[in-house]
Symmetry: C2
């Protein structure tokens, strides 16, 4: 399968095998609207879907209406998996060299001129209207590594950890799209955690960290009081993004007992702008980290390959411009699958809505080079992380830029997310 | 100040001193729209504001536009405190016996016929579009009582408790309006919490509880990265409701370490339908529970009277129809004020949006008769709570109805919330 679209590098995460969806604006049209990425271009779906030729090619796809003129992908997501599948297949055809519908775009110079836009000329926006955000803790090695730091190896994992996907309600309002600056937060911190009585100070965060996660968007809602069965949960998934759940470790450490993380986690969470459809990731299913615990029925899956083999990478770029890859791992290290998270989340009847986001929790592998947070890399802030250009870090400095990348598949047929990036801005003056 | 509106009992929580806002539908008009309550009637604000006479009386109030035709109060809330004040004052005048604007409603039979509707003929809806919900833990006596049950009196409160308003991100999607049935949730529970290794079971909740709280709605947003100062925080408050944050104690106990409550709290949270404006509660300011800790600057208030003296009551009605008042307390037992909660919530830059809800945390007084949860009343589920009709409870049974009430002020000038009620429906069959 090759595309007629020019300048599609074999290394592009946006091959014909992908077709991820996002929300764009351009200089010529400041109204946010839907697009798909292909190589170094995007296809403006509002422009495309307004054409007679596309309408004819898409007659069998129900409900499209004006979903691509909306400022978020929610209306499209709500149409459900079968529609996402059909539309993705049609777009793959329209963009193929041997398309069955050459008149739609390949041979339609006027529409190509309007609808095929270089990525450099579009501004990306938050793809979904996210009402509720839940962050899970499904990365086994991360949970274990952090548990060892706080409680030692014997008690690293809480007794519930292998019985249920531990998660907590996150803050939806502070989710931002890749490229949005992240302001170093002020907070209450203990300068001397060992001193008694404990005396907090109000100061800018000194232990500013990242968390490498996958974000999963919900396609369709369940009603209040109606659980989603694990074997039906795939139908509720729209697609995935990379998620950097920025964390203020010193703020979190003082505030989080007994009700969980709060201000340590609500000053910014960055998502990559392109939503990779669940269907595009189907070929990259693999076994997840094996959970040897006898699971409760509602969490038991019949499929064996419930994890996604997405290669993940974390780059840190200093203000001087030196870039170091500080971690490389895979999403296959998650112990709980997203269907299990959905089944657990709704077990008591909690309603999920279109556009809700589930975070996977930080993803780390088994090796030191595979860690998804600076807290782990610096062994609790005790060890320098060596960077290119003779720099060292334990936590983030002002001016540091973090870029997450994620990709599956072979050269020429890559399925990836594009960059999830954020730069640390200094704390405000008070 | 008396009203010309008929049938306003001196005991009504909806006196002329109140003027709370809600969202109604009626048999004749199924479009949700804004109304205010007065005695046993409501004034349909869509009908009222569509009249020439009202428009003339309201010319000095900016921005009203079509805010009362919206299905939530968010657009009205976003107009800000000065507009809420002006509109409430105008409505108080329009509804007064000696109104300066008799032609608007008092002497306008045609409009009265359309706009003044008996409460029995309206259906109430969730008043706000709630995007993010944060639940605090500001009820000192509740935090202490529960701490004693779990950790003994020496360690009842965590060291952070008096330094910052502890809170966590709640679940917005499961907030429902008074009257919505609450389905007993299934969840993972430990039948024998002492047994090792710990072995959970999936079962309907056996320790279903209530939490008596105040809910506070946010009027206007702060930007990401921009904290709200405590002395400015009142400007961000739209109004208050009663909140029953239903809790599954057995589910919560097993799941909540280390990231906080999750499924134990996301199967339903009930709010009373009428939003009492912050301005209506101004006369009932009082000193809150004294916090002797030296506070961080950003939490220090210049006002002394930062709590609200709202009399709160919990009634339990069994399926047989026997009603017992199981708790009577006051909102003055909160140790943290809502402005302090807002200042803390935004300290690191977290954005609040119009319609966000802050829960106070469970409110209990010092006496055994003043407890805001069954967990406290039954001393951790160990002691029967005696009810009328020879019934006993430790936690809720199917068919039980809980009604929260809250009121301030004297006979004839009461400012109250109306009922916040919910009935427990049996767990679904699996």
């Amino acid at each position: 399968m090759t595309t007629w679209v020019p300048d599609v590098s074999p290394e592009s995460p946006f091959s014909l095998a992908n077709i991820p969806f996002g929300i764009i604006t351009t200089e010529h049209d400041s109204a946010p609207r839907a697009a798909v990425a292909i190589g170094s271009h995007v296809v403006d779906l509002k422009a495309l879907s307004g054409s007679k030729e596309f309408a004819e090619a898409a007659t069998t796809i129900p409900g499209l209406g004006d979903v691509f003129s909306q400022p978020t992908l929610n209306a499209f997501a709500a149409l459900g998996r079968p529609v996402h599948q059909q539309l993705r297949a049609l777009l793959q055809d329209i963009l193929s060299s041997d398309t069955k519908h050459p008149a739609v775009l390949r041979d339609n110079a006027e529409l190509r001129q309007r609808a095929l836009v270089p990525q450099a000329k579009v501004k990306m926006h938050l793809p979904m209207d996210i009402r509720d955000y839940t962050d899970f803790y499904a990365g086994y090695h991360h949970a274990y590594n952090v548990g060892v730091l706080f409680r030692g190896p014997a008690n690293a994992l809480q007794p519930n950890y292998t019985h249920l996907p531990v998660g907590y309600h996150g803050r939806a309002s502070s989710i931002v799209v890749s490229g949005t600056p992240i302001r170093r937060p002020w907070g209450q911190i203990l300068l001397d955690p060992a001193a008694e009585p404990k005396q907090p100070t109000t100061a800018p965060c000194r232990r500013l960290d990242i968390e490498l996660e996958l974000g999963c968007f919900i396609a369709k809602p369940n009603a209040l009081g109606e659980p989603v069965k694990v074997e039906k949960a795939e139908e509720f998934i729209f697609g995935y993004v990379l998620l950097n759940d920025w964390s203020a470790r010193d703020i979190q450490a003082w505030e989080y007992v007994p009700l969980g993380p709060f201000n340590g986690k609500n000053f910014g969470s960055t998502v990559s702008p392109w939503v990779v459809l669940a269907d595009a990731l189907e070929p990259f299913r693999t076994k997840g980290f094996e959970n040897k615990t006898q699971l409760q029925d509602y969490l038991r899956e019949t499929k064996e390959e419930t994890a996604l083999d997405i290669e993940l990478q974390i780059d840190l770029t200093t203000v001087e411009g030196d870039t170091t890859t500080i971690g490389v791992t895979s999403a296959k290290h998650l112990m709980w699958s997203f269907p299990q998270m959905i089944a657990h989340h709704t077990l008591g009847g909690c309603p999920l809505n279109t556009g809700d986001m589930l975070g996977s929790g930080t993803i780390s592998g088994t090796k030191p080079s595979e860690r998804g947070s600076l807290l782990e890399m610096s062994e609790g802030g005790k060890k320098d992380i060596n960077l290119a250009g003779m720099h060292v870090r334990r936590f983030l400095k002002d001016g540091d830029t973090i870029t997450l990348r994620g990709v599956c598949g072979k050269e020429g047929a890559r399925v990836g997310f594009g960059d999830c990036t954020g730069t640390i801005f200094p704390a405000i003056q008070r």
